[in-house]
């Protein structure tokens, strides 16, 4: 039994294909437990707090899965925060507290999301506009239309719809199950379907993929549609918790920049082609653990933001510092 040496363990972890971000998640989680035991109330490992921690990660987690798709294709989506606002407002406006109108509203917001994703994808792939500018522009258009039409909280979601945000299946909140389902489906699509392999190929080298006969435009458009649909799902989750949608719910949550940060912390390269949703899940959970720890320790809200910014940089630096490729 000489098997349990340090180097042996290291190579085993490497072979298991667990993304290295899980080491960071573990370090962050253990430090949270230690810091909470010393300076806080030592309750961070209690079931209630752990559950809340994950529930708080659900909104960011779902949209971060979609963001992973576009970033694997070497694109980016800055319009998600506005799309989340649009979804939240439109869903509660269309439902008006009436359970019978839920299917219609859900169908409508998914249709809007699909259309926005299609537009993003077409502008990026057919008009060759840099995705940063394209999705920023589409985001501004959504913001403009939304703010011109609605000023504050509108409509309401019926009590039955709040099950998505507050309901439980046995001991487990439904929202956590939704996040897990989205993650597993995404992981399956990325690793087991043709679209998934094409996505990695296009992100790795668009030109090579095109010359090998891939319809790269279609892959890119589909990735944008997937991303927008996850933003819609996040919007539905947010509105089910808030009971009513307001035009600022998406942008106040900083879902655009935070989802990108979570994806990159999770190990997906900004240049595309490398990474995956399992890493993104860890990236999202790191943010969740940090938020919970700061709350338990009673860290000042504003200082929390400073630390968050620093930790995002350090987490990404921990893998990039040794890479030979120079960042831009």
């Amino acid at each position: 039994m000489s098997a349990l040496t340090w180097s042996n363990m290291r190579s085993r972890v490497r072979e298991s294909k667990i993304p290295p971000v899980y080491a960071i998640l573990l370090i962050v989680f253990v430090s949270a437990i230690v810091l909470d035991a010393i300076f806080g109330r030592g309750q961070i490992t209690s079931g209630v707090i752990l559950t809340n921690m994950v529930v708080r990660s659900v909104a960011l987690g779902i949209v971060a899965m979609g963001q992973t798709f576009v970033m694997l294709a070497a694109s980016i989506d800055l319009s998600v925060a506005y799309l989340i606002s649009v979804t939240a407002v439109m869903a509660s406006y269309l439902m008006q507290g009436d359970p019978a109108r839920v299917p219609l509203a859900v169908a409508a917001v998914f249709a809007i999301g699909g259309l926005v994703g299609l537009i993003n994808g077409l502008i990026v792939s057919k008009l060759k506009v840099n995705p940063f500018i394209a999705t920023l522009g589409v985001g501004l258009v959504l913001k403009g239309i939304l703010n011109a039409s609605f000023e504050t909280f509108v409509g309401a979601v019926p009590r039955s719809f709040q099950t998505l945000g507050y309901g439980t299946l046995g001991p487990i909140p439904i929202s956590i199950l939704v996040l897990l389902a989205v993650t597993l489906i995404s992981a399956f699509v990325l690793s087991r379907t043709r679209f998934g392999s094409h996505l990695y190929a296009v992100g790795g080298s668009e030109i090579t993929s095109r010359l090998s006969g891939l319809r790269t435009d279609r892959v890119l458009i589909l990735a944008h549609v997937v991303c927008s649909l996850t933003a819609v799902l996040t919007g539905l989750f947010v509105v089910s918790r808030l009971r009513s949608g307001a035009p600022w719910v998406g942008t106040d949550g900083l879902y655009d920049l935070e989802s990108i940060a979570a994806v990159v912390v999770g190990g997906t390269a900004l240049s595309g082609g490398k990474g995956g949703v399992i890493g993104t899940l860890a990236g999202v959970l790191i943010f969740g653990v940090l938020d919970t720890m700061f709350n338990q320790l009673g860290v000042d809200t504003f200082l929390k933001q400073v630390l968050r910014g620093a930790i995002i940089i350090l987490a990404v630096a921990s893998y990039t510092v040794r890479s030979k490729e120079k960042a831009a």
């Binding site: 840099n130 940063f132 500018i133 522009g137 258009v141 504003f302 968050r308 995002i312 940089i313 120079k326």
Partner: protein, 332 residues
């Protein structure tokens, strides 16, 4: 290449005019069209006083865009500019503490903070290899939190008149037009310095080279790391200047610079800069920022509600970049 072999003398004046027109960055034509549009709605904007007022309002974004372009041509982004502007406004109100005598050293301290932020951005990108999008995003969050932490949530005090002079003051008396805004004076100095650095010095050429091909630049003996750091420091310095102008114009406001970073990136792109580096023109980028502000003014004059102005801005940015992409594909 065949065109070059034709001696210039053989071309008619009209041909030369057309070729010259083609070589002008399209943003200048867009800018002129926008100004004509503004003029038809409200001719006072094209009189010297009205035009100077437009420039004064556009000055913060134009200054910030000049700095942003240094980073963009090296292939990076600086998302921290807007929050550094806000921090400058908040910091000024706290450091000055309502005593005009504190203004001058407070401005020095603010520039010190700015240079430190730029150095940090540059070091994180150059030596820790963190992509600039993430590095400056982290910095954005950190600066936003730091500003609010510094004030304890709500900014206190007001900005003294000698500080606000730069943003809203007028130089009086001034020959011919009676008075001249300080903000435009600052804008002229910053633009001239930026255009000189970008066009006339080795620094400008090397920044472009780094953005175009970092590896080739390194092999040619350029210190890529050092240049990237310089670009981020220049960008941060312009953010502090923009913050001082904006604070003077609008007073203490914790969100003074919010959204400015994305507007500056859009302005640079409208001016023909290519994201991910290697191409850009300083004059055209600054003109892009003025065009963006002129567009806001025009939409305002046309009576469009503020939210719809966002939507139109979005469409125009996409349209302009799509057109530029189409042009570059056609010429290739």
């Amino acid at each position: 290449m065949a065109q070059i072999s034709t001696p210039a003398q053989e071309r008619s004046l009209w041909d030369r005019f057309i070729i010259g027109l083609r070589n002008i960055a399209p943003i200048y034509i867009v800018l002129i069209l926008l100004l004509i549009g503004i003029g038809t709605q409200n001719p006072t904007f094209l009189e010297p006083a009205g035009f100077l007022n437009l420039l004064r309002r556009a000055a913060p974004l134009m200054v910030l865009t000049a700095g942003q372009l240094f980073v963009i041509v090296t292939g990076g982004f600086d998302l921290s500019g807007g929050s550094l502007m806000s921090l400058t406004v908040i910091g000024a109100s706290l450091l000055i503490n309502n005593d005009p005598a504190n203004t001058w050293w407070a401005i020095l301290v603010l520039f010190g903070i700015g240079i430190l932020v730029g150095l940090l951005n540059g070091v994180i990108v150059s030596y820790l290899n963190v992509p600039s999008l993430i590095a400056t995003l982290g910095m954005l969050l950190a600066l936003r939190g730091a500003g609010l932490y510094w004030t304890g949530g709500a900014p206190r005090g007001y900005l003294t008149d000698n500080f606000r002079m730069f943003g809203r003051g007028w130089l009086e008396p001034f020959p011919v037009i009676e008075r001249f805004p300080y903000a435009v004076l600052v804008l002229i100095v910053v633009s001239a310095a930026a255009i000189y650095l970008f066009n006339q010095t080795n620094l400008g050429r090397q920044l472009l080279a780094v953005g175009d091909n970092p590896r080739a630049s390194r092999l040619a003996g350029i210190s890529v790391e050092k240049l990237r750091i310089i670009a981020f420091v220049l960008s941060a310095i312009t953010a502090v200047i923009a913050g001082i102008l904006q604070g003077g114009f609008g007073g203490v406001n914790p969100d003074a610079g919010e959204g400015y970073e994305l507007q500056a990136i859009s302005a640079a792109v409208l001016g023909g800069a290519v994201l991910l580096g290697g191409r850009g023109s300083m004059g055209a980028a600054i003109a892009g920022a003025l065009a963006l502000e002129a567009l806001f003014t025009l939409l305002n004059l046309l009576g469009l509600p503020k939210p719809l102005r966002d939507a139109v801005q979005g469409l125009i940015i996409i349209g302009a970049v799509a057109y530029a992409a189409y042009r570059s594909r056609r010429t290739r």
